[in-house]
């Protein structure tokens, strides 16, 4: 219960950080998928349900197909393919789920004919691949941060993983 409340606050805080902080940078830093990284960490380290809810809310807020896809495909990947709680499993989960989202988005845009020649789509396509690459260092740093958090502060404030 307390964890869910904490995650909601974390989600809001990271959303503010991403929109108001990262997006004001006009280079690759603006492309860092902060909420996606955090969501994948939540899905692996805290709980499948919380992770799925995280991506579902993210997809609804941004009207983002990729987040919605991750919300559905992430739990399946986590249970069937990347069930280990290792760094490699985390990276695999993040890259495959995000890649699956990109492919789904591409197929959707191919099916919707009026979006095929859209300049916005071409721009976002390159940004998405940059984000896919940025997932690797992001998940690596995030994983270490969460492990440190679990060892130190986590137990003191009694925020124990529920799943």
């Amino acid at each position: 219960m307390r964890m869910a409340f904490f995650l909601a606050l974390l989600f809001s805080g990271l959303l503010v950080c991403e929109v108001s902080f990262l997006w004001t940078w006009n280079n690759w830093i603006a492309a860092i998928p902060l909420l996606t990284i955090a969501g994948i960490l939540v899905m692996q380290r805290i709980g499948i349900v919380e992770g799925a809810a995280w991506f579902f809310v993210l997809g609804i807020i941004r009207l983002d197909i990729i987040s919605i896809v991750i919300a559905f495909i992430g739990p399946v990947l986590l249970v069937k393919l990347f069930s280990a709680r290792s760094l490699y499993a985390l990276l695999g989960l993040g890259l495959v789920a995000f890649g699956f989202g990109i492919v789904t988005l591409g197929v959707t845009h191919e099916l919707v004919t009026w979006l095929k020649d859209s300049t916005v789509w071409k721009m976002s396509y390159s940004t998405l691949f940059v984000q896919e690459v940025l997932l690797v260092p992001g998940l690596f740093c995030g994983s270490n941060l969460v492990r440190w958090f679990e060892r130190t502060i986590w137990s003191r404030i009694a925020l124990k993983p529920l799943s």
Binding site: A4, L9, V16, C17, V19, S20, W25, N26, V49
Partner: protein
């Protein structure tokens, strides 16, 4: 009897967790819409944004390469040139709008029909003529008065083409405009050009009693140029002994080179007696 899957303890816990997660987000969203809480959220976001802007600027200054700085400088210079060009265009447009506005205001006060025209060509300094973009097709007549601003005469039409006309400015040597000095008494004469900044008013009787600073307007004689169009003020009076007339130097209050928009005042044709 086995319990349904949605009644198990695990399902209940999951439902509780989801309810807390979504409920907290919903409460936060609801709070952001309340007038007394929204400023607090806005303050947090603007603070984060300010921190980000300062950090981003600092980083870009520290790590920007010379090539990047040169590129930014070139960009700034090109933008400056573009803005300067745009500002000049806007200033010119504003001046023109003001000219048209004053002409329109004057046209509304007179009974004659005015034909709005634009100066499209200027003659050499020796000729003092300009060409406007209206001609007989638009109703321009030879001898019609050409005014600017709020009723200031700058010349008269000397030649009319189908779509353009030639205007002889009052400073042209061949220009002759019937005029009157509004002094203690109304004194009539003829304004002729001197190819300079001032014009001369001739055929003024010796006993006219002209005072420096008197206003000079058109007299309306001849019928083509209406009465009362302002020409300038008397700045000097030249008197020669034994001459029947005195010559007044009149300084126009305008410079025709400052204007691009003019109004041609049509007149009614008078049948010869």
């Amino acid at each position: 009897m086995p319990r349904a899957w949605y009644f198990t303890e695990k399902t209940k816990k999951i439902a509780q967790r989801l309810a807390v997660f979504f409920g907290t987000l919903a409460v936060l969203w609801f709070l952001s819409t309340i007038s007394w809480f929204a400023p607090a959220i806005h303050a947090v976001r603007s603070t984060v944004y300010a921190v980000s802007s300062v950090t981003a600027q600092t980083f870009s200054r520290i790590f920007a390469s010379e090539e990047s700085i040169a590129r930014q400088r070139d960009l700034c210079l090109s933008q400056l040139a573009e803005q300067s060009s745009r500002a000049a265009t806007l200033t010119a447009s504003a001046d023109e709008v003001e000219e048209w506005r004053q002409l329109l205001g004057y046209e509304n006060r007179i009974t004659r029909e005015g034909i709005a025209a634009r100066i499209i060509s200027r003659g050499t300094a020796a000729s003092s003529i300009v060409v406007i973009d209206r001609g007989s097709h638009d109703g321009v007549q030879v001898g019609a008065a050409v005014i600017v601003n709020n009723g200031l005469l700058i010349g008269s039409i000397t030649k009319v083409g189908e779509f353009q006309s030639t205007v002889r400015l009052i400073e042209d040597r061949q220009s002759v405009i019937p005029a009157a000095i509004l002094g203690q008494q109304r004194t009539i004469g003829l304004i002729t050009g001197n190819e300079g900044a001032v014009v001369s008013m001739n055929y003024i009787p010796q006993d006219a009693g002209i005072v420096l600073g008197d206003s000079v307007v058109t007299s309306g004689l001849g019928g083509k140029i209406p009465e009362g169009l302002f020409l300038g003020i008397v700045t000097a009076v030249t008197t020669e002994q034994n001459a029947p007339f005195v010559v007044a130097t009149v300084t126009p209050v305008h410079d025709s080179r400052d204007f691009t928009a003019v109004l041609v005042l049509s007149y009614a044709e008078i049948a010869p007696l």
